[in-house]
């Protein structure tokens, strides 16, 4: 990123300041990032490889892994379709209330995970809006898989949309308009013109969405009911094992999630690098959007 900056001697701070700042920055990151990251894997393998394998092939752990994959497998595609649709409407057209719509799309990010779970308890719980009706018809949403999926969808709602909106806004409408004027159908234009232009941004949003979907704890914890082997996702399984003082097993499952986080960061960096190569200005604007 900083290769573009040419450093002239006039503005360079004294050497001791540079060394001190570097030391402080790396010390802080070591203490808060690198040591915890190493610790996850160290704790996971504390009792050896066999204990590790036993912990992650335990039937309860396997069922937690399956449920996590199901929850992510439903919520990511749903929010992908929503993200593309919202980005199309917001980036390609002008209409009143657009900034309000943008704020509303961001809402799930500013709501505490616990409240994200609570809202579904208020809707589907025994004392909730449609809880009694659900009970009459013997439909289980809360403390069952549908509740977990709903909470995950809520938590990961903005990810794809907020990656795509600034990207599509920056790209403008010219290419699509050209295709349409030449007689392409709307659907064809989207598939052949828009989609290739946004594919990296889309992938970026999807992997961030997926990481959050698989790792969400607070919201899922409220709606799950913690039934072992049935409504436990991986993060909830980590909590249960940890609270049973089964630390090695807890960290074994946790290490899978940490691995997922590392893979996510690696893919994310590769995409950022590609976008940066394609158009440095765009990539930076997007970086800033992302940080917000």
């Amino acid at each position: 990123m900083s290769e573009r900056i040419t450093v002239s001697k006039g503005v360079l701070e004294p050497a001791w300041v540079r060394v001190a700042l570097l030391t402080v920055a790396l010390g802080f990151l070591t203490l808060f990032l690198f040591v915890p990251l190493v610790a996850v894997f160290a704790e996971a393998f504390k009792k050896g490889w066999e204990a590790y394998v036993a912990a992650i092939t335990d039937p309860d752990a396997v069922s937690a892994i399956k449920l996590t994959l199901i929850a992510a497998g439903i919520s990511v595609p749903l929010n992908l379709v929503f993200g593309v649709s919202a980005a199309w409407a917001i980036a390609k057209f002008e209409f009143r209330g657009k900034s309000l719509l943008l704020t509303l799309i961001d809402l799930p990010f500013s709501v505490s995970p616990v409240i994200s779970g609570l809202i579904y308890v208020l809707m589907f719980g025994a004392q909730g809006w449609i809880g009694p009706w659900l009970q009459e018809h013997d439909i289980k949403i809360l403390f069952a898989v549908p509740g977990i999926v709903l909470a995950t969808v809520f938590i990961t709602f903005p990810f794809v949309a907020r990656e795509l909106i600034p990207l599509m806004q920056a790209q403008g409408n010219e290419e699509e308009e050209a295709a349409l004027v030449l007689g392409a159908s709307g659907w064809n234009t989207f598939l052949r013109v828009t989609l290739p232009n946004i594919k990296w941004g889309l992938l970026y949003g999807v992997i961030l969405c997926n990481a959050r979907a698989m790792g969400e704890f607070g919201a899922v914890s409220v709606v799950s009911g913690h039934i072992r082997g049935e409504t436990n996702t991986m993060p909830l399984q980590v909590e249960i094992l940890y609270n049973e003082y089964n630390f090695a097993a807890a960290f074994a499952v946790a290490s899978l999630l940490a691995l997922l986080a590392l893979v996510t960061l690696a893919i994310k960096s590769i995409i950022e690098w590609r976008l940066h190569q394609a158009d440095p200005v765009d990539a930076e604007a997007r970086n800033m959007e992302h940080a917000s």
């Binding site: 900056i5 610790a39 809202i119 699509e176 790792g215 960061l265």
Partner: protein, 282 residues
């Protein structure tokens, strides 16, 4: 099909799918976000004012506000200072492993909060890698105290300041610093008069984002906090406690207070971001 008012109509007449995409967007937004969120306010309206006030100002919940907001404030402040330095180092200096370190800054976004929680607890408990030395050298305990809450919230908020300050520093005009230096300014003067005013709005934005995230954080905190009522019980945990006692109204009332707080924070953050963009000329 619906078209927006004629203002800028001509270029858009060509583009299809406005009604479909906006219609689906609003429908999905209402179904997943707006209707469920409104449940919190509607449930709160079923309470009498006295019951609501009693629920949101009880002694135990007041203690949880003090902890949640106090620890979030401290953690966000730590992140402003160190996150600012990290952003500076990442933008201005060259050192081995820089790209990997840059990528790892986002780890707290990507690492599930429960994993962060149990790991920090293991590190800072009295027989952990770090807690052991703090305990034997200073008799200082981190895990299962409010200090542990600050540690977890610092971890969670780490990327925000770095990622808001970094792009602003990258775009900063170094010519200004060179001009200042050539006119005889010391590097301290250059920093306080030129660099700091440039990155200040971004730092404030990062601070607000880290603070907002920290106030609602749950997963990483509950393991390290010890969760003693009145001492180390955060507000989100208190909501869960109320739910487990089937006090739905009480839980919802506190949730309502937290929601209003986060809406105010969201508004502040939007204003700060507008200011940042104006300052950095975007």
């Amino acid at each position: 099909m619906n078209y927006p008012p004629a203002k800028r109509a001509p270029p858009y007449r060509v583009m299809p799918g406005f009604g479909l995409s906006l219609g689906f967007t609003i429908f999905y937004l209402a179904l997943i976000v707006l209707i469920p969120l409104s449940a919190v306010f509607l449930k709160t309206f079923t309470m009498t004012w006295e019951a609501f006030w009693a629920a949101v100002t009880s002694e135990r919940v007041m203690a949880s506000y003090r902890l949640s907001f106090g620890a979030s404030l401290i953690a966000a402040s730590i992140n402003v200072v160190f996150g600012g330095i990290v952003a500076w180092v990442l933008v201005r200096y060259q050192f081995p492993g820089k790209r990997i370190i840059d990528a790892l800054v986002d780890l707290p976004f990507a690492l599930p909060t429960a994993v962060a929680g149990i790991t920090l607890t293991a590190l800072y408990s009295t027989n952990g890698w770090i807690g052991r030395y703090l305990d034997s050298a200073f008799g200082f305990k981190v895990a299962f105290t409010p200090v542990g809450v600050v540690v977890a919230l610092t971890f969670i908020g780490l990327p925000f300041v770095v990622r808001t300050v970094q792009p602003v520093l990258e775009d900063a005009e170094r010519e200004l610093e060179e001009a200042a230096a050539s006119l005889g300014a010391t590097s301290l003067q250059t920093f306080t008069r030129i660099i700091f005013p440039t990155i200040m709005p971004a730092m404030l934005t990062g601070f607000a984002l880290a603070f907002a995230r920290a106030t609602g954080e749950y997963g990483s905190v509950i393991f390290i906090a010890g969760n003693m009522p009145m001492v180390s019980e955060i507000t989100p945990l208190f909501i869960i406690t109320k739910l487990e006692q089937y006090d739905y109204a009480g839980a919802t009332a506190i949730a309502c207070v937290m929601l209003v707080t986060s809406f105010i924070l969201l508004l502040t953050i939007n204003l700060l971001q507008a200011w940042t963009r104006k300052r950095s000329g975007k």
